[in-house]
Symmetry: C2
Subunit: 336 residues, 2 copies
Amino acid sequence: MPEIRQDPIGGRWVIFSPARSARPHDFESAAVTHTGTVCPFCEGHEHLSSKEVFALRHGGSSANQPGWQVRVVPNRFPALTADSGDIDPAAREPGLAILPGWGIHEVIIESPRHLTNTSQLSTAELADVLAIYRQRLGNLAAIDRVRYGLVFKNVGLAAGASLEHLHSQLLGTPIVPSTVIDELTGSDRYLQRHGTCPWCRMVDDALGDGLRLVAEEGPFVAICPFAARFSWETWILPREHAHHFHRVEESSLAQLAQLIRRVLTAMDRVIPRLAYNYIIHSAPFDTHAVDHYHWHMEILPRTAGIAGFEWGTGYFINPVLPEKAAESLGRADRGE
Amino acid sequence: MPEIRQDPIGGRWVIFSPARSARPHDFESAAVTHTGTVCPFCEGHEHLSSKEVFALRHGGSSANQPGWQVRVVPNRFPALTADSGDIDPAAREPGLAILPGWGIHEVIIESPRHLTNTSQLSTAELADVLAIYRQRLGNLAAIDRVRYGLVFKNVGLAAGASLEHLHSQLLGTPIVPSTVIDELTGSDRYLQRHGTCPWCRMVDDALGDGLRLVAEEGPFVAICPFAARFSWETWILPREHAHHFHRVEESSLAQLAQLIRRVLTAMDRVIPRLAYNYIIHSAPFDTHAVDHYHWHMEILPRTAGIAGFEWGTGYFINPVLPEKAAESLGRADRGE
């Protein structure tokens, strides 16, 4: 019997309908083919990408040459650009808003080797990647015009990736994204109503009854959210209230890396060759003390498409209850 | 140079970034394969689907037997069901909302033949399908518990279709979907600010300067919206203000069918084998006089995936400006 749950922060509705998973399919899952073009992100091909703005390098190697472990380059096909000019006044139409597409869009190449999934990085390598997220976000925070910094990753065609070599993207924007505004508004309302940060409550509940808890590692926990949009959706967040990812203690990054690896490895076991997105949700740079906003990383498995139902209603349909998802992932994590 | 536009109704932001279309791709576009299973929607296979609740039949043929042209059956894998019970009080958690998944979910099989795209229907056949949308929505409107009726269609794997035989889905829900609430709120605000229904304004503007006009047919027009989320996104709407699709004049359905066919045929010419969703946006059944809500059909081509960028920001990225899209589609429509 289907049930409908409401996300306590954003207010979005999710229909949990286990029967849907039995649907017949005319289409075989999309055959994903590497086209065999030369990978611009592999070591030795540095000339095929933009000039690096930062790299973690082994002693003595030169910029834009081999000898790096993580490399940050401007996105060659940016969604937003730092050299965007003003909007031509002649192009403006009454009652319709246009802004120049100003922003910073970088690519973080996470390994010199042609890896395709974060779970293939060692914990130490992933900790280095997280340290670079932290550092680049800190840099963006110091730029006046930048109000928000976003880190996200696409793995697999179904998750919208265009290149398979392991990489993340970093975006600096002059306006706070709608998703974050919705979270800030919703969590503020939650705090006023319930007297607590909703993510703190989520952590306490999961640690209390274990109901949607996937795994813990030092100061971090992994939880399937109550109104998960996607099957096996998992959020990773600090136990203690903290609003900015780039202020996380450097000494805890190895534990965070270990937890992310455990969750992605468990997902690999439950759904082989899963496509997914992950996104770090952090507060806007200019908010200094927010009792209601708690940074978190959302891992969004992309096993189902977004279809007319979702576009028409604004609801999601998920055939897997998060209690079941957390149980399966927890078992896979323990190797059971 | 990228520009950012805001949809004047829903307020969502879209980044128009033509440079993005030049991105290299490791993945070949998803190879879509018919798995060769017996199609439950073809004439002669009526026993493989649920018993029909309505069918347009040639004289004398019996229910659930061959001899039909359009057939309406309950969805065998429903997102919402009419026999859903109450939520077990023991399953409730403090501060978290759960509703029973009550609703009606039907499938409208649009042809006895194994067609896969609406543009393969004749205008008369499509007009019959539209007449059935109209009639089924009218039936839903008469059911007390149903507050909203939604018609949508998925064509192709990238659009979330599971079966390729041409069909639409009809949903009756006890709550008004979030998408419609957002449109109602946004268009009411627009009316208060600008003194007119935003869709009426859109029609007047397009007919005035032809800037985003794709085609017209009798009382209907096809327009690429100012802040289109998807490349070649097109909306079809009546010139005259009208809030409920199911109140459309039966005598105008052939013209509506003709316009839909022209737009989908033009899309076929511009992007062969395009996957798309279409959705009829209509006012809730219990709103009787809404000066700000204007029914419309949204055709959403699915050439690009939804990735970390979109999930993280709530923005869309579209490489094709709607002015260019309307021009290309208009030319394709005229056979140029």
